[in-house]
Symmetry: C2
């Protein structure tokens, strides 16, 4: 049926579809539905405490026997810088004024934690079949423990060079993340956002660069895209934006409306929302302050001063300051429950693959 | 054999491969070889006089009975602006000094002419099977004459919206030009370079937006890419960078070396070389002055003041100021004569398509 079974066999899944781990946007209901439908369910832990991650993995295991991918960020954490923070608040002052938000309101700092000792303990205890990392790989000592626990290790490459690095440092599978992808670019050996190759160019160059299997990511929202990913040499496709449109996703109405109304050129890569470049639907703060601004504090601290503005705008039904992470092909995705979506993507891909040898 | 025959039948060609028209880089030998091998040969006329275009079309017709695609730019011409020119020369002054070039040396103005009355006369006389345009379509009066001459009209879309516009205004075929593509983006309804979708996301959205057949362009340099283009819904693939690597291409040694050594992230989109955004291998002037600079005069005038620097650098074997237009997948292309390349791309694509239903 499928032209390449490497990842189906390695992950022990039925359908070559990885539901992308999208922190804050996908929860247990969606992950379990994607997994039960035969895809690879992926649990984002970048915004969870170790206790919460432990609890969620336990619930997943209670409710399904399918394999699970547990996902972590592994950026080098940077402490908040008071000067950068002050400059950022000055840059945002007119918005604070417009929304009547007190600029001195205390704001909890943005919570994107990298994989650490405590999380590693959770993994050793829960032993999920798969652990994926974003922004490279964790320090060798921790990675070794993850591998000793028997987990298959995935990480994202945005260039052929990053793919080679990841393979050499122990990744068992590479996610080739093209420029079309929504959310944070996984880039870790480069910060040249403008030079990131698109999925079409990246996937075959990564396939040629490494021996491990490759997952294509970025701009894949329908069966045609999955078929094309196989044609380019990938062994599976990672799908993000399409799952955001599921009723089970945790996104709010303005974000959902943004996805429903998006077109081929509705997104861009911005650093103003978190401090690291990520693709999302263009909103007011991206258009007026960014999309790329040297005023934005380092990841994840840019989000801190935006939080009260975001809350105030969302109260009025506006996504002016809300990250609406999205890839470039969200418009192609149907709005379906996660199980149905997963099955439809696979059925459409198989149909498309059959048409390829008419 | 091929999953979609719409363009093979419309163009009366054997292989669904369009050799991209690359002004200044491909000449008759390459075009005839690509056409004779079964692809669609494309003759770039943006840098030719009407007499030269007439002569080249005549030679093509003498040497082969294959169909020909004659390509034109159709940008709205902007007169050179003395103030902008002076600002640009100031920006480049250190380079003039470094290379010992007299800043007052008279330089012929850059020669990218849009399709006009005279060129339209050439087309009416020569009646090539296909005429393609870049940057939209020419004015209605001229377009009507091209269509009355019996020519099939192609143009490039960089968004779904541009594709709909082109179909509504008379294009018979749409080239979906993804962000991966080398050279000038065909964008004409937008100038938001950062929002241009990649090939993987763009092609299916264009296919869904129009009824006419679609050619995929951008990042396609091998058989896998052609197979993937069909999977995404295209009826043919346009290939650029791979043809630049042919011995028949007209590019100089530094440019050829740049392509041979390129990696997945060697290119970016710049406006400093001509005034309009175009993708090329990063060189010194792109890195130091751009890649995008508001100092660059309007297209094509940015090229004027660079011309003497380019000549001086090339004399020393350097491409510091030379446009090295390239897509993001040049590294995938073999170095073969144009006929062999065309046949290999097709054979590899067919092989890949067969593997898709293993």
């Amino acid at each position: 049926m499928w032209p390449d079974r490497r990842l189906l066999d390695l992950f022990d899944i039925e359908l070559p579809i990885v539901q992308a781990p999208m922190a804050g946007a996908v929860g247990l209901e969606l992950i379990i539905a994607a997994a039960d439908a035969g895809g690879l369910g992926s649990m984002p832990c970048a915004m969870l405490t170790p206790d919460k991650a432990r609890e969620q993995i336990a619930i997943f295991k209670q409710r399904t026997s399918k394999p699970l991918n547990v996902n972590f960020f592994c950026h080098a954490p940077v402490a908040a810088d008071a000067q950068a923070e002050a400059r950022w608040r000055t840059r945002l002052a007119t918005y604070y004024k417009e929304y009547g938000v007190d600029p001195n309101v205390p704001v909890p700092s943005a919570n994107r934690s990298p994989f650490d000792e405590a999380m590693c303990g959770v993994i050793e205890e829960a032993k999920p079949k798969i652990v994926s990392f974003h922004f490279g790989l964790p320090e060798e000592r921790l990675l070794k423990r993850v591998k000793t626990a028997g987990c298959i290790v995935l990480s994202s490459a945005t260039t052929a060079k990053e793919a080679r690095w990841l393979e050499a440092h122990g990744a068992d599978v590479i996610i080739a993340q093209g420029n079309e992808a929504g959310g944070h670019r996984g880039m870790f050996l480069t910060d040249k956002v403008d030079q990131q190759p698109g999925t079409f160019a990246l996937v075959p160059q990564v396939v040629d660069a490494v021996r491990v299997p490759v997952i294509a990511a970025g701009g894949i929202s329908d069966g045609r895209g999955i078929a094309a990913a196989f044609a380019l040499g990938a062994s599976a496709a990672q799908v993000g934006s399409a799952y955001l449109k599921c009723p089970e996703s945790l996104i709010g109405k303005p974000y959902r409306d943004g996805l429903a109304n998006s077109d081929s050129d509705s997104t861009t890569v911005t650093n103003v929302l978190t401090g690291k470049p990520a693709r999302g639907i263009v909103n007011r703060v991206m258009a007026e302050v960014g999309p790329l601004s040297s005023d934005a504090p380092a990841f994840p601290h840019a989000a801190t001063a935006l939080a009260p503005l975001r809350a105030a705008a969302e109260k009025k039904g506006s996504a002016e300051f809300t990250p609406m992470w999205s890839g470039q092909a969200a418009a192609l995705a149907p709005e379906l429950p996660a199980a149905e979506l997963t099955k439809k993507l696979a059925a459409d891909a198989l149909k498309r693959l059959k048409q390829m040898t008419a």
